[in-house]
């Protein structure tokens, strides 16, 4: 096997691995964002005011 064929084979293998890795990474990102969105359910005072459409919020 000459050097060119060897390099070609290396690049081919790396490309296949990178393509698979790229797809996995994308779905990992999507899963992370979904998880973050689930955990991030805290409201600010302004958002709470906005939600209830009132001027004040009374805490018990």
């Amino acid at each position: 096997m000459n050097i060119l064929s060897f390099l070609a084979m290396m690049i081919l293998i790396i490309t296949i691995i990178t393509l698979i890795f790229g797809i996995i990474a994308y779905f990992l990102y999507k899963a992370r964002e979904k998880k973050r969105a689930k955990n991030k359910k805290t409201l600010t005072y302004d958002e709470a005011l906005n939600d209830i459409g009132s001027e004040y919020i009374f805490f018990e």
Binding site: L7, L12, L19, I23, A25, Y29, D46
Partner: protein, 437 residues
């Protein structure tokens, strides 16, 4: 002079190497007998040819732009400080970086300057931290404004409405400018046709392989491309970290819109559609924090891709309307090529070559395919390093750039495009700052 001769000789050498590689690539493809595979090979060769042409043209335009700029006496002798510049920094939860950013803005050499920090309803200490720096002294002032959270576009518009300058400069809160950035950019507005000027963006946190690859991408893929586009005065995106606009022109196009996730691209397109010219100043530099891990990088590219597609979709009526505005139609097609066509073709070509390598034993094609783009990347990187004075070691990363980085980014672009196509809901996706400015 020596540098110019070197660049010309380098260009000739690159053209010869590319011709050889393309010829070798073609020879192997010519051996394929199946019609379907032959058609695939033709598509690959056609798009590869287009990409090489685009690359070489941009490189050539970039050189011409530098030559023209160096011979422009008006630009060199410009001393007018009457134009008032309002520098707007929209900020949302930027407590980690806001002070560093403000301190860099205070060092600007341009005297007639108003700085407005617009806090977009942050939930952290961004506003009080910015408020500490308020001052008014002669022609210079800094003011911190706060408003209910409404997105970046609305924050910029709020700043524009409260501005006193004739020129508006928008700077991201996670960016730091070089001291003469404003002064360098103001000069372009002598020409009344110029509505906006983009600056260069460099990566500040080059502390791992991913950020180094992004640094290479920024100087080569973004800054060199913008310099080439600036030869035609058609820069298609004013980058978020550094851009200056004529205020009247912004009002003429209805300021920033908040209906896309790429408000910078959208406003640039609107200006081009109005017939304005957009220029680029390579020496006005903003350093910005790049994502330090892969998932954050994908998150950033996801937003960029979908934002650009939304902007293209919004102005799609102009795609075929070359008579109305040739420049705008051309820009939209160019963006469509970069954002959609090329990532698809690139990944498809890789899959195609993998397939014929495994079925026909033509793995050598993968070597030629990679070599063509790596030669282009190394040349672009070398040229940019020579022009910008960035670190020479970045050139080494050009070898990995095509092998790993571009593939992953293109996959993210394709999957984001599919999500945009199906209208899947998205949020802004703010990146967490590390403060490495």
């Amino acid at each position: 002079m020596v540098k110019n001769i070197f660049i010309i000789l380098l260009s000739i050498l690159v053209i010869l190497i590319l011709c050889f590689l393309l010829y070798s690539f073609y020879i192997y493809f010519a051996n394929i007998e199946l019609f379907v595979l032959k058609t695939g090979a033709f598509v690959i060769l056609f798009f590869t040819g287009l990409v090489i042409m685009r690359y070489m043209l941009l490189l050539f335009f970039s050189m011409l732009k530098i030559l023209i700029k160096s011979s422009d006496e008006n630009y060199e002798s410009f001393e007018n400080k009457d134009l008032r510049v309002t520098l707007i920094v929209p900020a949302y939860n930027e407590e980690v970086v806001i002070e560093k950013s403000i301190r860099s803005l205070l060092l600007q050499t341009y005297p007639n300057l108003e700085i407005l920090i617009v806090d977009d309803g942050s939930k952290d200490r961004t506003y009080p931290l910015a408020k500490k720096y308020e001052f008014t002294k002669g022609l210079r002032s800094l003011k911190a404004l706060t408003k209910k959270n409404g997105g970046k576009a609305n924050a910029i518009n709020y700043g524009i409405e409260h501005s006193t300058g004739n020129l508006i400069m928008v700077v991201d809160a996670d960016s730091k400018l070089n001291d003469d950035a404003v002064e360098l950019m103001v000069r372009y507005f002598q020409n009344p046709e110029i509505a906006a000027v983009a600056g260069s963006v460099y990566v500040s946190n080059q502390n791992n392989i991913l950020t180094k690859l992004q640094a290479l991408e920024y100087i080569e893929g973004l800054n060199m491309v913008r310099n080439g586009q600036a030869f035609l005065k058609l820069v298609n995106i004013i980058p978020g970290p550094i851009g200056m606009f004529r205020k009247d022109a912004l009002y003429e196009v209805g300021l920033y819109d908040d209906d896309t996730f790429a408000e910078d691209c959208d406003v640039t397109l609107k200006l081009i559609m109005k017939g304005y010219k957009i220029d680029f100043e390579p020496e006005a530099v903003a350093v910005t924090e790049a994502p330090e891990n892969l998932l954050d990088l994908i998150k950033q590219r996801y937003r960029w891709t979908r934002g650009i597609l939304q902007a293209i979709k919004k102005h799609s009526s102009i795609l075929w309307n070359f008579k109305k505005s040739f420049a705008a139609s051309f820009t939209l097609w160019y963006m469509l090529f970069e954002a959609v066509f090329w990532p698809f073709i690139d990944i498809w070509s890789n899959l195609y070559i993998i397939y014929i390598s495994l079925t026909h034993g033509y793995s050598i094609l993968m070597f030629y395919w990679w070599s063509i783009f790596t030669v282009l990347d190394v040349t672009g990187a070398l040229y940019c390093v020579l022009i910008t004075g960035e670190r020479l070691s970045l050139i080494i990363y050009a070898v990995y750039y095509r092998l790993f980085f571009v593939q992953i980014i293109n996959i993210a672009k394709i999957l984001s495009t599919i999500e945009e196509w199906f209208g899947i809901k998205m949020s802004w996706g703010k990146l967490e700052r590390k403060g490495n400015l």
